[in-house]
């Protein structure tokens, strides 16, 4: 739809623009005396057709080479080259046409083409340069503006998505079921085991701080992320006790790698909520990090069955997926697959 309306706008501009330019010459001819209607009409129609042809050929060429997508830096010198080239074309067809008209209509005053060229060549070339420069600037200005509007729209959308992800993350981190159950267990521990109660408050504080008050610095080191994951699991263990166990397999050499904040944690929380917590006998969560061919693979495995239409599994992971898309421009991936009796969630991110 957009394309179609643009073409029609393009043709409208071409026709009006060149008709107005050609009418200017017609008026010039009219005021200059020796005016002939038939000649004026031929001149007008041929001018409009020829100059539209030249510029349209340029447009076809530019579109084919996707010049409309070029940045200003790559575009300006192309335009600078295009102006004299098109000016030369303009000069050639104009001279050819004028000479032809002279030969065909003004037989009483035959002038040699070489003389005619010598006399008018430069001024026609200058006019061509002027006209083509105007045309090219108008054409590319329009496209540039259009592109800018599109890009700023896209940026706004991304920005909004990012804000939404932050907000979702906040809510996900505030997972009320987790928060209130944790508070409840801490309350219980205050009476039975004050030491553990204190520990529980420390862990919960750390998680809330990281989820809520981390500010805009979203990525953190893998080491820090693993600390958060351990805090989270320890807190869940206060609740689930021996039903929840885990194993961490992370090479120390990867400690400094940068990962999105609360990414592994989101996978682990998902594994607890939709895997271990649903099983009476509980289960073990395996967390491993691997580096391969320029990518970092963060894997979390839990016992259980993955149900595709199990929508509650959504919010946390959907939000993580969104964050990955924004942070890595599509180079990262999040997958969730069934492997035998286990569900394996994996994030793949390019190493920065």
């Amino acid at each position: 739809m957009e394309n179609k309306s643009f073409i029609s706008l393009y043709w409208k501009c071409q026709l009006t623009g060149w008709t107005v330019a050609s009418l200017y010459w017609t008026v010039q001819g009219w005021t200059g005396g020796r005016f002939r209607w038939d000649l004026a009409l031929v001149q007008l129609v041929s001018d409009v057709m020829m100059y539209i042809l030249i510029t349209h050929l340029y447009r076809t060429f530019a579109l084919k080479n996707r010049w409309q997508d070029l940045s200003l830096n790559d575009l300006w010198w192309r335009i600078l080259v295009a102006i004299p080239v098109m000016g030369a074309f303009y000069t050639a067809v104009t001279l050819g046409k004028l000479h032809l008209i002279r030969v065909l209509f003004l037989t009483n005053n035959p002038q040699r083409f070489a003389d005619f060229f010598e006399l008018n060549g430069l001024s026609i070339f200058m006019a061509g340069i002027r006209l083509m420069a105007i045309w090219l600037l108008a054409y590319h200005l329009y496209h540039y503006a259009k592109r800018e509007i599109r890009i700023s729209g896209e940026n706004a959308r991304l920005e909004l998505g990012f804000k939404q992800a932050q907000l979702d993350n906040l809510f996900a981190q505030l997972n009320p079921h987790f928060l209130f159950n944790s508070l409840n267990i801490i309350k219980s521990l205050i009476y039975t085991n004050p030491g553990s109660a204190g520990r529980g408050i420390d862990l919960l504080s750390e998680l809330l701080r990281s989820g809520l008050y981390s500010g805009t610095s979203m990525p953190i080191s893998l080491k820090e992320e693993m600390e958060l994951v351990k805090d989270y699991l320890e807190l869940e263990q206060l609740r689930m006790e021996e039903r929840l166990s885990y194993h961490l397999d992370v090479d120390v050499s990867l400690s400094g790698r940068i990962v999105p904040r609360l990414s592994v944690q989101a996978l682990v929380e998902n594994a607890v909520k939709h895997g271990v917590a649903l099983r009476k006998e509980g289960g073990k969560i395996d967390i491993s990090v691997l580096e391969k061919e320029g990518f970092l693979y963060l894997r979390v495995t839990n016992p259980g069955r993955f149900e595709r239409d199990n929508s509650p599994a959504g919010i946390g992971l959907r939000n993580l997926r969104e964050r990955l898309v924004i942070s890595y421009q599509g180079q990262a991936a999040l997958s969730l697959v069934q492997e035998g009796e286990k569900v394996c969630a994996e994030i793949k991110i390019p190493i920065q």
Partner: protein
């Protein structure tokens, strides 16, 4: 002072301990047992017949709501949940109380005093039924007719009906259903709803105030007459 028999059902040991601690302040309460999931709880409730249960909704395996649907003798129930807004929204049941974890002492005291009053007084025996995604608490005395439908019993109360997973044989043995008379293989009716009795030779037709007509065979009619004579 009547003893109140309690069962606590929650998958987290810490959460159960917390309830036990709060119940410490009630000398009339005896905690019969604790269950960590619905299956364990079902056995415990069937064998121990508690007056009151504290019930978590989200548990591994069956949920607390699923558990209630399987019970034909319902104790007084207090839900204790961290954050189950959706489950609670599905309730048609104002008669049931729920507490939010962590539970405030005042709120707990209020729920307990209500429970004690109900249990001490004449709390009408009820049944917990899920119908089209919503939960209902129906008093047995409000049901006029029960029909057997495969593995379910269809409970008629007024113009409404719900399906409840049980058998008529089970209901006949349920002391909460004493007011029902078994009229043949597929029907039980509430004797408090009888409007008129029509004798036909040795058989009988009972008309209920809600309009249903129930035919009793000769054998059932005799049994019915004997029951009425007592």
């Amino acid at each position: 002072m009547k003893t109140i028999k309690v069962v606590i059902i929650d998958d987290e040991r810490g959460a159960r301990l917390e309830l036990l601690r709060m119940l410490n302040g009630y000398p009339q309460v005896t905690v019969l047992g604790e269950a960590a999931d619905a299956d364990e709880a079902e056995l415990m409730i069937r064998s121990l017949r508690p007056d009151l249960i504290f019930l978590d909704i989200q548990m591994p395996g069956r949920s607390g709501l699923d558990l209630l649907e399987t019970l034909d003798h319902l104790p007084h129930v207090i839900f204790v949940t961290a954050f189950d807004q959706y489950a609670i929204r599905a309730f048609e049941v104002s008669a049931m109380d729920y507490l939010m974890k962590p539970v405030r002492e005042e709120r707990f005291a209020k729920a307990m005093s209500q429970a004690i009053e109900r249990i001490g007084g004449h709390d009408e025996p009820s049944v917990f039924v899920k119908d089209r995604g919503r939960y209902h608490l129906i008093k047995w005395k409000d049901i006029q007719l029960i029909e057997s439908v495969e593995n379910y019993a269809r409970l008629w109360f007024g113009k409404n009906q719900v399906l409840f997973k049980t058998s008529l044989n089970k209901l006949e043995e349920n002391p909460d259903c004493r007011m029902f008379f078994r009229a043949g293989r597929g029907q039980m009716f509430n004797m408090d709803f009888i409007k008129s009795i029509l004798k036909e030779d040795n058989a009988m037709t009972v008309e209920l105030t809600t309009g249903e007509l129930i035919r009793l065979s000769e054998r059932q009619a005799t049994k019915f007459k004997n029951l009425r004579r007592q």
